[in-house]
Symmetry: C2
Subunit: 141 residues, 2 copies
Amino acid sequence: MKLSTKGTNAMLALFNMALIYPNKLVSINELAMLSNISPKYLEQIFYSLKRDNIITSKRGAAGGYSFAKPLSSISVYEILCSLEGTMEPVKCLNEIECSRAQVCRTKPIWNAMHNRMISLMKSLSLEQLVKDYGDKNETIN
Amino acid sequence: MKLSTKGTNAMLALFNMALIYPNKLVSINELAMLSNISPKYLEQIFYSLKRDNIITSKRGAAGGYSFAKPLSSISVYEILCSLEGTMEPVKCLNEIECSRAQVCRTKPIWNAMHNRMISLMKSLSLEQLVKDYGDKNETIN
DNA sequence: CTTAATTCCTACTGGAATACTAGGAATTAT
DNA sequence: ATAATTCCTAGTATTCCAGTAGGAATTAAG
């Protein structure tokens, strides 16, 4: 029941990005150094985040990344889902074809867990996180 | 962010055990067949559950397993922890020696997630689950 | 128009964790 | 004695994840 390092590193990088470059383009290299993440690895992470329309980019020299929408509308849930696929604690939750579906009575438990987790994660926006935990004197790394 | 099959199978087996053999000894073989789990695998699972004082056993012929305490005092949290080790979404939560501890501002997020999850899991007892989802006409498999 | 900086995309590899099996020792009812 | 059962350790195979590699496409700037 652990998050992947892609998920946690995504949060780390986006938090720093929201804190320090909220309205500027920032390159992978710069942000990677700041967040103490391998640039190539962060590239992978940003590839997913862009695919899911959380960030946007400009190619070429002097290019970089920026947020695709207001920080207030980017939730922890959205970010983690982009990296983890889904946040469901068991595979069968979103499967229509679950061989045990007819008789499985533990499913409601996983469903309840899932609902609680996502309601929390959806309620946390990058904007709020920066307000609550941002202190520009220190970056996360 | 997935539970292990040990965790989910433990819940499945214990649910059936609570439903059908709440006060009797039941053998691995019988419960495994009922729950559609490999007997050898279920043995592994029960080894952990016994170690953590959730179930107790009687060895030898006509032996088997039974609950070590009232169903009302056995929570989903306890069961899953027995199989998963802990339920923390990131390793660093319980580590005193986290190299990023001083500067990590994402930790509060994981901490909040963790707290919500465990409060739910602690609030669900086997007794309650059987009341809510138990229907003796069908077993979970 | 050339160069350097950057994103984009696919593929690969090593390692760790997980799922599951194997086998036999110890115990106990009959 | 025997059969049924738990107990315990070890092993294997596979899947998943972390992280790397390399080069194509794009663009700013001189």
